[in-house]
């Protein structure tokens, strides 16, 4: 098992073999999670704190469940963005928490890089549960696991990522992961929601959805934030759905066995047709949720192993010196 990272801040810092290690271990947790007794002692005695500066029911629940199934003591800190007006409080909060000796810190924050900043200040392992528009590594890993289980591999696939690429950390982490695993990546978005310079990342850029979907193995839809729909970035919700909403007709341009993914929560009728989202022959959206728990268990397990090894080495050093 090769996974050397101390924190999981982004896919950017992971090597392909580390990504494979996470996915392999997650497979075992998928099996565990399907049993009646879903208990492991991988994190027994350890403390996991979830700090979500941005509200998220789904991701927080997924991390909480993952920690509990591994036997950790899990605490959810209620830190709404409003109560932490300034980042100095972010560092202060980090230092306060650090003094309580947590082992794993799961952090979501609205600013890109905030989780990196926090990781510099604490002694525990930090998991990025989404920072600004930067990265959401566990989402990309759970997407990779979902794809690997559905397609039998995570290389040499054509993956179309469609929607609000500019503001999406999910898109960024997936773009990096899929690139590292040598896939062909298509980015589809109205030009106002396409970040500049992405063509230099080795992705193909499309503003015509049908052309972008041509021959795709995987179609990954992104959530479009409500506040972007009112004329600032796109003219209207209905025009967006007409041009970029995934329906059966547009999906017909992808391969016949292409799978449909969405990180949730979905806006039915905005970025994805409701019937399609529920089509169990095409949609793997519910699988993504299941893989989410398993992948997060794998990540936390691996980080905890590294943490123990590091502390063990330190303790041994103390004795012999």
């Amino acid at each position: 098992m090769s996974f050397r990272a101390r924190h999981l801040l982004g896919i950017q810092h992971l090597a392909p073999d580390e990504i494979r290690s996470v996915l392999d271990l997650a497979e075992r947790y998928v099996d565990l999670n399907r049993r009646t007794v879903k208990q492991s002692d991988a994190l027994a005695g350890m403390t996991q704190i979830n700090m979500f500066f941005e509200n998220s029911t789904r991701t927080q629940a997924s991390f909480e469940l993952a920690g509990k199934r591994l036997g950790a003591d899990v605490m959810n800190m209620a830190v709404a963005q409003s109560s932490v007006k300034k980042g100095e409080t972010l560092i202060d909060t980090a230092l306060t928490l650090n003094a309580m000796h947590p082992d794993l810190l799961v952090v979501r924050h609205g600013s890109s890089g905030a989780v990196n900043l926090l990781a510099e200040k604490v002694n525990c392992a930090v998991l990025n549960a989404g920072d600004g528009r930067h990265e959401h590594p566990t989402q990309a890993l759970l997407d990779a696991l979902t794809i690997r289980r559905a397609k039998g591999r995570i290389q040499r696939l054509t993956v179309a990522i469609c929607g609000d690429i500019a503001h999406s950390r999910v898109a960024r982490s997936n773009l990096i992961l899929l690139g590292k695993m040598e896939n062909r990546i298509r980015l589809i978005a109205p030009p106002t929601l396409m970040p500049s310079g992405v063509d230099e990342f080795g992705a193909e850029v499309f503003d015509d959805m049908k052309a972008g979907l041509e021959g795709a193995d995987v179609v990954m839809m992104l959530r479009l934030q409500r506040e972007r729909m009112d004329g600032g970035f796109i003219p209207s919700e209905r025009e967006y759905f007409h041009r970029y909403g995934l329906d059966a007709e547009k999906l017909a341009h992808a391969k016949p066995d292409a799978i449909v993914m969405h990180p949730g929560p979905m806006n039915r009728g905005v970025e994805i047709d409701g019937t399609l989202a529920d089509d169990i022959n095409r949609s793997v959206i519910q699988d993504q949720v299941e893989m989410g728990v398993a992948v997060r268990m794998a990540c936390m397990d691996l980080l905890a192993r590294n943490l123990r090894a590091e502390r063990g080495a330190k303790a041994a050093g103390d004795i012999y010196v």
Binding site: Q12, K86, G87, E88, L90, I91, H109, S111, S112, G113, A114, N116, L117, D131, G132, R133, H134, E135, R169, R172, P195, S196, G197, V198, E200, F201
Partner: protein, 425 residues
């Protein structure tokens, strides 16, 4: 007291040459440059073959007086300047409150005179409170000693207001300093847009925002005939516009910060907020284009854009962190990077850092000639050191060069013929 600086390599930015000479400083002025021997009562300083140049005249230094003295005082800025080879600070009016009345200007002038070992001159705001609505008392402020008028990075968005202020400034021969940046495009930006910004998930501003700002300002200059200096031209896209304006004979000059000449956007790395500047750091292509423009003389002035920020305003997620970096004390060492890279000669560097800014503001400094003010810097361009930001004399230590190897050190600084800084050992 008379000073005799012997065995120096004297940099003359006006002639563009370096020669070995002895220099006599007397009565606050350069009394002689040549092979003269020491006058009877002179204090003799052996320069050991090191370089002697006119001290830097730094347009655009933020000092926290009044309002933010915990960030930088006239005293701390003056000490930092002396250590960085800066002998005249041209202070910015973006203080709290803004320097927008003759009364505030008189206050800061007096404070600066009492506290600083180097010369400090002041710019005044172009509009009251830098709010972009009503022009300041440009005439009174000129009488009180303002050397230029600027609202700093608050771009005057109302072109009617700006055109009137420019017209009025023209009648008095006042210099107006603009910050070319389209406020709409640059709103909320933390870095320059492009691959790096997209990868980091940071909001970016397109380099075109600078040219749009410059185009607009130059249009108004053509209309009003006011003297105009663009404080920071940092992108390749702006250069043809600037060149055309100069070729057409508009009274226009431009500057660039030492950080934009020596760093690029990738230096931000892992969200290091000490590299967050305004305008943001640019691509390497832009940096090289701007360095070449300084070498050609298209960009006239190198400045520090010294912006002290306390730890609290920098230890934040990148987007929320304050922009700006301290630069006074690292000014000369950072300039030497350009010299060692072969990008600019020593006379070219001091032409842009000392002579041109002095000329622009009508000051007698910046020249290496008999009768000029004895504001000089003695330095060793090859002296290596490792920069530790906690050794800086500024009250704020937000330097992007922390922990970096620097080559080139100030050995002594003279202002009005008096030594105000000396390297120990």
């Amino acid at each position: 007291m008379t000073l005799f600086l012997e065995n120096a390599r004297v940099i003359d930015p006006e002639a563009g040459e370096i020669r070995e000479a002895n220099v006599i400083l007397d009565n606050g002025l350069i009394a002689a440059i040549g092979d003269a021997s020491a006058p009877m009562d002179a204090r003799i300083i052996d320069c050991g073959g090191k370089y002697l140049a006119p001290g830097i005249v730094d347009i655009g230094v933020k000092i926290g007086e009044p309002g933010e003295r915990h960030r930088e005082s006239f005293r701390s800025a003056g000490l930092a300047a002396a250590a960085g080879g800066v002998t005249t600070i041209i202070a910015r009016p973006d203080t709290v409150p803004a320097i927008d009345t003759p009364e505030v200007l008189e206050f800061v002038t007096r404070r600066a005179l009492e506290s600083s070992p180097v010369r400090i001159r002041h710019m005044a705001a172009l509009t009251k409170g830098r709010a972009g609505r009503e022009m300041t008392e440009i005439g009174f402020l000129l009488d009180a000693g303002a050397v230029a008028f600027t609202d700093g990075d608050h771009v005057v968005t109302d072109t009617k207001v700006l055109s009137r202020a420019l017209t009025y400034a023209r009648s008095l021969g006042a210099l107006v300093i603009g910050h070319p940046q389209d406020p709409g495009l640059s709103a909320g930006a933390a870095v320059t847009s492009g691959k790096f910004a997209s990868l980091m998930g940071l909001p970016g501003v397109h380099p075109m925002a600078e040219r749009i700002g410059l185009d607009r300002d130059l249009g108004l200059i053509e209309m009003t005939g006011a003297r105009y200096h663009a404080d920071q031209i940092t992108t390749a896209r702006s250069l043809p516009t600037l060149q055309r304006a100069k070729a057409n004979g508009l009274p226009v000059t431009a500057g660039v910060s030492i950080h934009h000449l020596t760093l690029n956007e990738l230096d931000v790395g892992d969200y290091r907020s000490f590299f967050k500047l305004s305008p943001p750091l640019r691509s390497e292509e832009d940096r090289l284009a701007v360095v070449a423009a300084v070498a050609e003389g298209l960009i006239d002035v190198i400045s520090s854009m010294h912006t002290p920020a306390d730890e609290e305003s920098k230890r934040l997620p990148f987007e929320e962190a304050q922009a700006g970096a301290v630069a006074l004390e690292t000014f000369l060492p950072a300039m030497m990077r350009l010299y060692h890279a072969g990008a600019l000669s020593l006379p070219d560097l001091f032409r842009a850092a000392s002579l041109n800014p002095a000329r622009l503001l009508g000051l007698p400094q910046g020249r290496m000639e008999e009768g000029a003010p004895a504001d000089l810097v003695l330095f060793d361009p090859d002296a290596p050191f490792l920069l530790d930001r906690f050794t800086l004399r500024s009250k704020s230590r937000n330097t992007p060069f922390d922990g970096q190897r620097m080559e080139g050190r100030v050995q002594a600084t003279f202002v009005a013929g008096r030594q105000v800084f000396g390297q120990e050992g």
